[in-house]
């Protein structure tokens, strides 16, 4: 089942073509890595998927719903952790979650249960009544992650979820990502940490200069580039030292 379907997705900013005719889909339960060097168009692609940028051309469908035509319904299937997303500094950790839980239409009992569960899972229970301004950078990122996964949406879009967090917190986040995938959630994941990508992702898309350069499983891309380390695979593929895998 296709949870996400991207067809001929293009975004222009004036003369600049940030994303150029991307086509791919993500199946249910997949952890899909969207990789590329800085400025490749990853974040622009993700922003079009979760609907804060309008595509110049092409379509994005989430659970069969067109993101441009019915953005509210499409977003109801998503949980999003944007790249530079922060939390509300004058709300407590708990209130930050209440806010998004209510916006996602969660009922009181379910919201209370999930808030408790996530604060415990991410080691934020002690910070429940502490304003987010007093949290560390890593704790804020974990809170933003909890906000995204609060209602266990069918599609999770995580733009560099472990960026800026310590080793222990990164492990907690990765563990939750695996858990959600096992429970049937589909995850799109962007990261510069190739070690993390290798351990988490089933399928990987590499984009460069707005175009899809390679698409395949981690093992397929390793074979294609004849490399054992995924970091080396990434470098070879981006530099065009091996042929098309799409």
């Amino acid at each position: 089942m296709k949870v996400l379907e991207v067809v001929e997705l293009t975004k222009r900013f004036g003369e600049l073509v940030a994303v150029d005719g991307l086509t791919f889909h993500v199946d249910k339960g997949d952890i899909f890595g969207l990789l590329g060097p800085n400025g490749a168009g990853k974040t622009t692609t993700l922003r079009m998927i979760y609907g804060v940028l309008r595509p110049t051309r092409g379509t994005v469908r989430v659970m069969g719903v067109d993101v441009v035509r019915d953005p509210v319904k499409a977003r109801s299937y998503m949980g999003v952790l944007p790249e530079e997303s922060s939390v509300y500094p004058r709300l407590t950790a708990e209130e930050n979650l209440i806010y998004f839980g209510k916006l996602k239409g969660m009922d009181e009992a379910e919201l209370r249960r999930r808030v408790k569960e996530l604060l415990e899972a991410l080691d934020l229970e002690e910070k429940r009544y502490v304003i987010a301004d007093k949290l560390s950078k890593g704790q804020k990122r974990k809170l933003a992650f909890a906000r995204a996964v609060l209602n266990k949406p069918p599609l999770l879009i995580l733009d560099e979820p472990t960026s800026g967090v310590d080793v222990m917190s990164a492990r907690e986040i990765r563990s939750l990502i695996r858990q959600y995938a096992q429970e049937g959630s589909t995850i799109i994941f962007s990261s510069h940490n190739m070690w993390e990508v290798e351990r988490l992702c089933k399928t990987v898309a590499i984009i460069n200069r707005g175009k899809l350069q390679h698409l395949g499983s981690v093992e397929e891309l390793k074979r294609l580039s004849e490399s054992k380390e995924f970091e080396e695979v990434f470098v070879k593929l981006v530099k065009g030292e091996v042929g098309e895998a799409v």
Partner: protein, 429 residues
Amino acid sequence: MRLFKGSSGVVRVTRGLGQLGYSLPDKPWLVVAWKELVEALRDRRTIVNVILLPAIMMPIFIALPMMIMSPKTVPPRIMVSIQDPEAIEIANYFRELKDVNLTIKVEPVNVTDLIINQGYDLVVEVPQGFYSNVSSGGSGVIYYYYDPYQMRSTLAMSLVQEAINDYSEKVLKRRLEAVNLTEEYISPVQSISVQVTAEGEQVSPGEIMAAMIIPLMVGIIAITGAGTFAIDMIAGERERKTIEALLTAPVKRIEILLGKFTTLTLLSFLSGVSTIVSSLVGVSLMVSPMAVPYDNQTAAMATQIIEPSRLPLFISGVLLTVVLGGLTGNAIMVMAASLAKSFKEAQQYVGFLVMILMVPMIAVPYVPQSLYWLMRLLPIASLAMLARDLIVNPNWTNVLTSLAFTLLYLAVFLVLSSKMFDRESLVFG
């Protein structure tokens, strides 16, 4: 503020308000309004801007200068130098002066030393030959020596002049009696001022001041609105990088904007009520016997801000204009904040807008009555006119015209702010 959160950041006083979020109904605008209110109440700027600033500053701005100037607060220091030993009668008039710190000397004095070094507000000199000039039917001359940079010198002169006028009137009366003439004979024309109001009643000085100040206050509320909060809720949200996550929530942007407007309107309403109540306190102090030396009967009338039978219309009119003013101002601020990339940039846009919008509003008290129709059609000015029309002259055609144009501009500003909030660049600048 420790009242709201300790240095550890643990929230105590407003925790209940935060917990209330769990039981909110499934209305996105209400959820957004709740969140904005919780954040605003934990921001010390709310207390300063919404309560303290209006409550303290307005009475100070309005009444303090008047009270400081009042002779009842600090009587002006006056030295009277009588160099004509025969001018006893006028000296008695000076002695009867109230609310002055008076010294009378029957000798010449060093005027410069008294004013520059000894802090006298006024020196009055009655020169030699004064009495003989007056008693022979001529004019006696009196000299005022004063500091042109001191407003209190002008006040002292006006008080002394009252005594001199009384003396002059008495001398004139004697002279007229001596030649068998009446006072009317030398005053062939008299003028009498009569107030004309819609109700045909006399208006107190307090009411006149309120009618001048309240439209101005309503305009200021409209222009500044809950300005800081409006900027914070849009540009601040972008600067703190929370807006992108918010816009990924499955709600319409208009619902987010509506929620933000709800809290902004509540805050500007509180600020507006606080401003107007404190302005009225300022006006009461300004026209009170503490500031103005009325007799008792006048004082009772002066302190009455509004005639009791018109109080319900006055209160509802003020509240209506405060709400409409707050909404208008906030819509304008949201438009400006949506354009800016940062809080600081938004403040600059807002500063520019405030200057432009101040012009028609400040013009309201000064334009001739023949141009009132035009003021009722202009943005912001229509709002100030609505307040004025409701308070001063409740003519329903005028009130409805001002109201219709105020609502029209409000609708335009709300639509524009919603368009601005819907732009892609809202997230990315």
